[in-house]
């Protein structure tokens, strides 16, 4: 036993030393990226339109992929896309398997403790759909009324926080909740903005009978993820994003992937790529 324990201790020390040298080699990621001539970016590949597989070319394309391409061009290196699972995103970045995350990543305070974030690249949130003839113009008008939404997500707590005196009825799926709204069993339907606009658009001509309230009940900023402490890389990424914003290219990318011509039909961009601060 003692022998085994000593061997284990030796192995641990060796492993630790190895880790240390690995860390040292990665001391500045920007130099490493330039040296190897490629930027490895982790994406989801399953989240249209941020990153998804183009059915024709079998290539991963999307809003975030285009942002990543711009960063690679700025650094003068090749872009290498790597597909990741949602739960694996942050560990893969921390272990250095990818240089950058462009994976529908929500920037929040909790995550700031483990990785750094670029400027906010997209702002989404949860919104409220009402019948156009209901006379409801803002969130405050929902007080004391019945609203419908989905079980298990953040929709219910968020609408209760936004409208303290609201009556919430929850369903298993979005379409069920939406049907309850259509039948008049609630005055409003609360859901994630992208799903809400998608469901609204699916109504076709009947869509004019419904309206999405302008106010968000919660805000979710998405950003690119950078390994903690890689300041020089973050500076380059942020500079790329600022240039995109300044040249109007960022707006073009938004219209290309989210705009009126796309499936999602976002009428206009309501945010700018100019800050890496978040509220919560």
């Amino acid at each position: 036993m003692p022998l085994n324990r000593r061997r284990l201790a030796q192995a641990l020390v060796a492993a630790g030393a190895l880790l240390l040298t690995a860390q040292a080699a990665l001391a500045d990621q920007l130099d490493d990226i330039k040296k190897k001539g490629e930027l490895v970016v982790g994406v989801l590949g399953t989240d249209e339109p941020n990153s998804f597989i183009d059915p024709k070319t079998r290539q991963i394309i999307g809003y975030e992929v285009d942002l990543a391409r711009a960063v690679a061009a700025k650094l003068g290196v090749k872009l290498q896309i790597k597909q990741l699972a949602v739960a694996a995103r942050i560990p893969e970045l921390q272990q250095g398997h990818v240089d950058l995350l462009a994976a529908s990543l929500t920037h929040n305070k909790e995550r700031e403790a483990v990785i750094d974030f670029s400027l906010t690249t997209f702002v989404t949130g949860q919104k409220v759909l009402v019948k156009a003839d209901s006379g409801i113009q803002n969130l405050a008008a929902l007080s004391g009324k019945k609203v419908v939404t989905i079980k298990g997500g953040t929709q219910e707590p968020n609408i209760r926080k936004a409208v303290p005196n609201v009556d919430v009825v929850t369903f298993d799926t979005g379409p069920q909740a939406f049907q309850a709204l259509q039948q008049g069993k609630g005055v409003a339907f609360v859901n994630d903005e992208v799903s809400l606009l998608d469901q609204h658009a699916k109504l076709g001509p009947a869509a004019t009978q419904y309206r999405v309230l302008d106010q968000n009940i919660s805000v979710e900023p998405l950003a690119l993820g950078i390994r903690k402490g890689e300041k020089r890389l973050k500076d380059q990424v942020d500079a790329t994003l600022r240039e995109l914003e300044k040249s109007g290219e960022a707006d073009k990318l938004f219209v290309k992937w989210y705009g009126p011509e796309t499936r999602l039909k976002f009428p206009k961009r309501t945010f700018k790529i100019d800050s890496d601060k978040v509220e919560s």
């Binding site: 019945k146 419908v148 079980k151 298990g152 997500g153 953040t154 219910e156 707590p157 009825v169 929850t170 369903f171 298993d172 069920q176 049907q179 309850a180 039948q183 008049g184 069993k185």
Partner: protein, 233 residues
């Protein structure tokens, strides 16, 4: 492995949510029992009626209701039937507790179908000669049933009826699909707020189990003290 901790669930909002859910589940059980039992007796009588069209009607009801899952009944009574109401009334109903009312309707019709079969078997356990005797003495069919057969039949049927009540109690959980804020709905709400799914559903299990055990106990008591001697064996 994450550490189990019930403490966050046992104070403040979360406990209040769960208790509100428990209250609604019990209310649904009670209300349904009040409406399902008379309906079940009526259906059982239809099936025992001397007149064939009435028998067919009762049989048709029982088969139609029993052969469709309760989940479908719930969705039907929530998304389907209320849409047939006239416009003015519909708005009034929808502004109220339509979720609870629909769940009540679905549970009543569903439970009555099962209970009517238990009552029918109870009636058949009373010797048929008693009804013949009642008829010979000048009682009508309904009077003979009410005064002679049913008082005995219901006592025989009490244990299986309590067992149906147990099913009814558990079936209230299906009302979560139409948004009624009963115990399951509130448990899911607590789960998504606390991420303590195991603890939440452990508490919910204890709640369902305790009420169920009380009902089982009642059924056993009824078996020994209310049922006629013959039925005890």
């Amino acid at each position: 492995m994450p550490v189990l901790s019930f403490a966050p669930l046992l104070h403040g909002d979360y406990l209040a949510w769960l208790l509100a859910g428990l209250r609604l589940s019990l209310l649904l059980t009670g209300l349904t029992l009040l409406t399902a039992l008379p309906l079940a007796i009526a259906i059982a009588l239809l099936r025992l009626s001397p007149w064939r069209p009435l028998r067919l009607l009762g049989e048709g009801y029982v088969e139609a209701v029993r052969c469709v899952p309760l989940l479908v009944h719930m969705l039907f009574w929530y998304f389907g039937v209320p849409e047939l109401l006239p416009a003015g009334l519909k708005e009034k109903v929808y502004a109220g507790d339509i979720e609870v009312v629909s769940a009540w309707a679905a549970l009543t019709l569903y439970t009555a179908a099962y209970m009517s079969e238990d009552i029918r078997s109870g009636v058949r356990a009373v010797p048929g000669a008693q009804l013949d005797a009642a008829l010979a003495l000048g009682f009508s069919f309904l009077a003979g049933m009410r005064l002679v057969i049913l008082p005995q039949a219901l006592r025989i049927t009490l244990p299986p009826l309590l067992s149906q009540t147990l099913n009814l109690w558990k079936n209230t959980s299906i009302a979560t699909v139409i948004g009624a804020a009963e115990l399951m709905t509130q448990a899911q709400r607590v789960e998504s707020a606390t991420f303590r799914g195991f603890e939440t559903f452990a508490l919910v299990t204890v709640a369902y189990l305790s009420v169920s055990l009380v009902l089982t106990g009642l059924a056993q008591w009824a078996q020994h003290h209310v049922s006629p001697q013959r039925a005890q064996r």
